[in-house]
Symmetry: C2
DNA sequence: TCGGAACTAGACGGTACAGTACCATGGTAG
DNA sequence: CTACCATGGTACTGTACCGTCTAGTTCCGA
């Protein structure tokens, strides 16, 4: 009859409220910095109800993280896949790079990344999940796209996986690592992010040149 | 008379023992996962003595992190500076890259990085310190080295800071980010690290070409 | 309308831990 | 040798919080 995630039922709504509250509090205060009472209060739900839906703090936390990562990563994944049929590699790489960077630099995604990294010792599985659903999946998709582009002769790539790594990190490393350590009180503007992305693409194309369809 | 750090005095030895124990426990269990009793026990010192040397847990933690980062970062910094007078840019870049990568991938450095990232919300200053003493300082040194090499005409670089960022992250991103999220149960071998470093240098030199002193 | 399931509110046991208080003791300077 | 300060050992205070329990209340379907 009723699915746990069904928002039509009362149980479904409560469950969603708890997950939303948990996201807010965990991302702000970290795993140990968060109390179940706080989550219950913010969700406007009794603590008993929290424990009815999630057997304990760990499960609530892991479930929250996995669903959040999956949701955040899906759209990026789609766009990367579409790269394989690109008609204008340079322009499309720039597009993908810009959009991907903006996604990754959202404050809540950054907070989630910090959180998972900080808890890798306590929750090793969570780190794996984050990697596989996030950067790992994106780079795998990118590698297959590069492979296809190489077959079509529009991009010179010998090791697609390595190229995907290089592309990915040329775009994201500078702003991402700064954000990890410097916090996001003064996040880079959209324009700055585009500069990082474009510069990364430039370097990438110098090493993995695109064959232009239209010559000068 | 006596300096706090002087290992000759009894107080100095105790202080060092406390810092060593703190390093072990904090790096293994994180900030909140560590109790002052644990540190005192491992240092074979009474808790009273711990509080005599460090007014509270926060100060002990921050003092530990700053001294550790500084110590780990100094040798890398030296070597990067010496790049400016390189006679064989390609070979020397490869050398620097390999050594830098090995340093950064040491388990305790990785643990420290995870720890600082996870605590950025609680200790923003610590993140800044880590960045400025670690990657920030290295990349600044690298930028001045590149600038000098460009003046000498042996490397084509227009924006030295950007080039330093690109170099740094081309080398380190892949193994570093994997380590951050996947833990270091199965750390990459020295050979694998060298492959990452060499591949990064290759891409870097494609975008920022070196003028060869000796031609084929 | 009615019965059962889901929910609320709050107390409670158990545990862990930061930081303090107190006093005995041992090394060290003078 | 002695006075004294650093240290050891340990008990203690206060707090926080997980997870459980109880007792009463509200929602919803039949």
């Amino acid at each position: 009859m009723s699915t746990p995630g069904d928002l039509g039922t009362r149980a479904g709504r409560k469950r969603r409220a708890i997950l939303d509250a948990a996201a807010t509090v965990f991302l702000r205060n970290g795993y140990v910095g968060t109390s179940m009472d706080e989550i219950a209060a913010l969700a406007e739900v009794s603590k008993q109800t929290v424990y009815k839906h999630f057997s304990d703090k760990e499960r609530l936390f892991t479930e929250l993280v996995t669903t959040t990562v999956r949701e955040a990563s899906d759209p990026v994944h789609e766009e990367v896949l579409s790269l394989r049929d690109s008609g204008d590699v340079e322009a499309d790489l720039r597009d993908v790079a810009r959009r991907q960077l903006v996604k990754v630099m959202q404050p809540q995604v950054l907070a989630l990344r910090r959180l998972v990294i900080g808890e890798v010792a306590r929750f090793p599985q969570l780190g794996r999940t984050f990697y596989e659903l996030g950067p790992g999946r994106t780079m795998a998709a990118m590698a297959t796209a590069f492979e296809r582009l190489a077959e079509r002769g529009v991009l010179r790539v010998d090791d697609p996986s390595l190229a995907a790594e290089h592309f990915n990190w040329l775009i994201m490393s500078t702003p991402l690592n700064r954000a990890m350590l410097l916090g996001d009180d003064e996040p880079p503007s959209r324009v700055e992010l585009e500069r990082y992305a474009d510069a990364g693409v430039r370097v990438f194309l110098a090493a993995y040149p695109a064959a232009r369809t239209t010559s000068a």
